[in-house]
Amino acid sequence: MTTLESAIARGNNQVRAFFSSPMMQADLIDLANWTLIAISPGAAPLYLASISLPVDTYPIYADLTVSEMTNGLPYRLEVSTTMRDRWGNTIDPMFNTTDFAGIGSTPFVESVVGLSKNRVAVRFSKFMRDELSIRKIENYSFDNGLGVLAVMSVEGNEVVLATSDQTPGLLYSLTVANGA
């Protein structure tokens, strides 16, 4: 019987799964044969989008394109025991799962733009979760005496802040604190 040897995250959205024997292409590209589980409660659920195979009649590995992982948290890959290697052997039920560490990129403040004299758009590098923490005005602070009065909206990767009146042309630095 053949086994699922290992899996490794190769980027935000890609996982490579290795088998002990060359596998049937038809079984590898069937999405129903793959299951991804977030083991840690703090990890984002993982969804399988597509599968790509190396140019080989009987590939020994498959690349899975998945939704973004939570950086450093463990995930489990499980394959169907009906998958067959090139000789028709199925997967050993004792060795059809493997764990791997997720890779995710850290968001950062991409830009800060004054929309009007008292509105500022903070754009992050990624879409952010609209939760209490991102709506707390205490997490945002400007220098040069510019006050943050309210978080007006959180949409996609953009947070709009209401500020006290800005001085035209003056350079302001924004600090976004996290951990509160």
Partner: protein
């Protein structure tokens, strides 16, 4: 809880970014001066300055005036899209842009410029959101503008069937939303729009716009009021005269007279209120029990502020009474009562009551009817010789030692003015 992206990846504990303080773009032609002369190459201008005694610049002065006018016109093109800046003569095009074409064009025909601007300003939102009661209210607030409320059959369902909690219905008076049953339609097919209009509104326009906003197969009953205040904006006493008792406040959706140290009152001060003679006054109110007999909290009517003469209808929780009193020179004397003991009910502190007063002429006399919780409790014909005031404003009042709140106050003129907008 920390700031995370959709995959639960954390933002670093400190992230920074920079920006330049917002600089508003130039708004007018004067902020962006364009001179024909400046378009000449520098060499020509230098020669003109050094040898030509600025002949070329002076030569272009005439053209510059034409140029300036042209630039001003170019810069004013954006005003064609502004409901406030668009010149009157171009409003016809703006109204077409926002949808008043085809069969809807008739509605916007013949309107004066101010009304047309209001119609245009509400159009985009109306087309997007029409059908909801909120949108109808918002549209009327802009279009007429008027204070408006809407009742539908489902609003009253809880008090018209067996699910009603008590006979006082939390101060909701079924009369205010007595359903029209015109023609073959069921009550649930009616939306009742109660709108303040002392006769100045363009009612044809109101009917047409309301007709456009019909959600499905509903009919509208338009009821025109003399006065309405739902106290929706904190601090909004714009319809009230509180000069005599400035402690009155509006907060949490009600007008509150919270000083027990003395009598307190607030008087309706909208145009024409001092001339009100025949009307139906409704107030949703709650109060506390006073310390003495013949106190009370309620409403004033036919009241002349300058003389202190008029009438009051009030609940006296101390004596468990409903009463009407004559007020002469600010001195109140009760003269007709209903004792709630006779029906086995005890008036309660801080329970909402719907107090309604009908005032109508019968010859030289005045018929006064007072309802509590939708039930007629006092019907009195005020004799000619005892009438202390035959017209005047209305208001809310409480005696010393009590406090009161009023969350809704409505005055409906008699005869009642209504119209229907039915399915066609």
């Amino acid at each position: 809880m920390t700031i995370q992206d959709l995959a639960f990846n954390y933002l670093p504990s400190t992230s920074t970014g920079s920006m330049i303080g917002y600089t508003a773009p130039p708004l007018s032609v004067d902020d962006l001066p364009l001179q024909m002369y400046d378009f000449l190459i520098r060499e020509i201008r230098t020669q003109d300055l050094q040898q030509g005694r600025l002949f070329v610049q002076r030569f272009l002065d005439g053209g510059q005036q034409i140029w300036k006018d042209t630039v001003a016109k170019i810069h004013s093109i954006k005003n064609l899209w502004s409901t406030t800046e668009c010149p009157d003569e171009y409003l016809q095009y703006l109204k077409a842009i926002v949808g008043w074409t085809g069969s809807a064009a008739k509605i916007a025909e013949g309107l004066d410029a101010i009304t047309l601007r209001r119609l245009i300003s509400l159009s985009v939102d109306m087309w997007k959101k029409r059908g909801s009661e909120t949108t109808i209210i918002d549209a009327m607030n802009i279009l007429v503008p008027s204070r408006v409320r809407i009742w539908n059959w489902f609003d009253v369902r809880w008090m018209t069937d067996e699910t009603a909690f008590d006979e006082m219905r939390q101060g909701r008076d079924p009369f205010l939303f007595s359903m029209a049953e015109v023609g073959p339609y069921y009550p649930e097919h009616w939306l009742i729009i109660r709108m303040v209009d002392p006769g100045r509104n363009n009612r044809q326009l109101v009917r047409n716009v309301v007709d456009l906003m019909r959600p499905t197969g509903e009919n509208f009953l338009l009821v025109y009021l003399k006065f309405l205040d739902l106290f929706e904006i904190d601090g909004d006493l714009s319809q009230w005269d509180v000069s005599l008792y400035p402690t009155a406040i509006v907060e949490e959706g009600m007008i509150r007279l919270l000083s027990p140290a003395t009598i307190e009152a607030a008087f309706v001060n909208v145009d024409g209120s001092t001339e009100w003679e025949q009307f139906i006054l409704s107030a949703r109110m709650r109060c506390t029990k006073g310390p003495a007999v013949w106190g009370g909290s309620g409403v004033l009517f036919l009241f002349n502020i300058s003389t202190g003469n008029g009438y009051a209808a009030y609940l006296d929780l101390f004596s468990n009474l409903l009463a009407i009193s004559r007020v002469v020179g600010w001195v109140s004397t009760g003269f007709v009562y209903f004792n709630f003991d006779t029906i086995g009910y005890t008036l309660q502190e801080n329970v909402w009551y719907g107090l309604r007063v009908h005032v109508a002429r019968e010859g030289n006399e005045i018929r006064m009817e007072v309802y509590v919780g939708g039930e007629l409790r006092i019907s009195h014909l005020e004799p000619v010789g005892l009438i202390v005031s035959d017209k005047g404003t209305t208001g809310v009042v409480h005696s010393a030692g009590e406090i009161m709140d009023c969350s809704e106050f409505e005055v409906l003129g008699l005869p009642v003015e209504t119209e229907t907008v039915e399915v066609h």
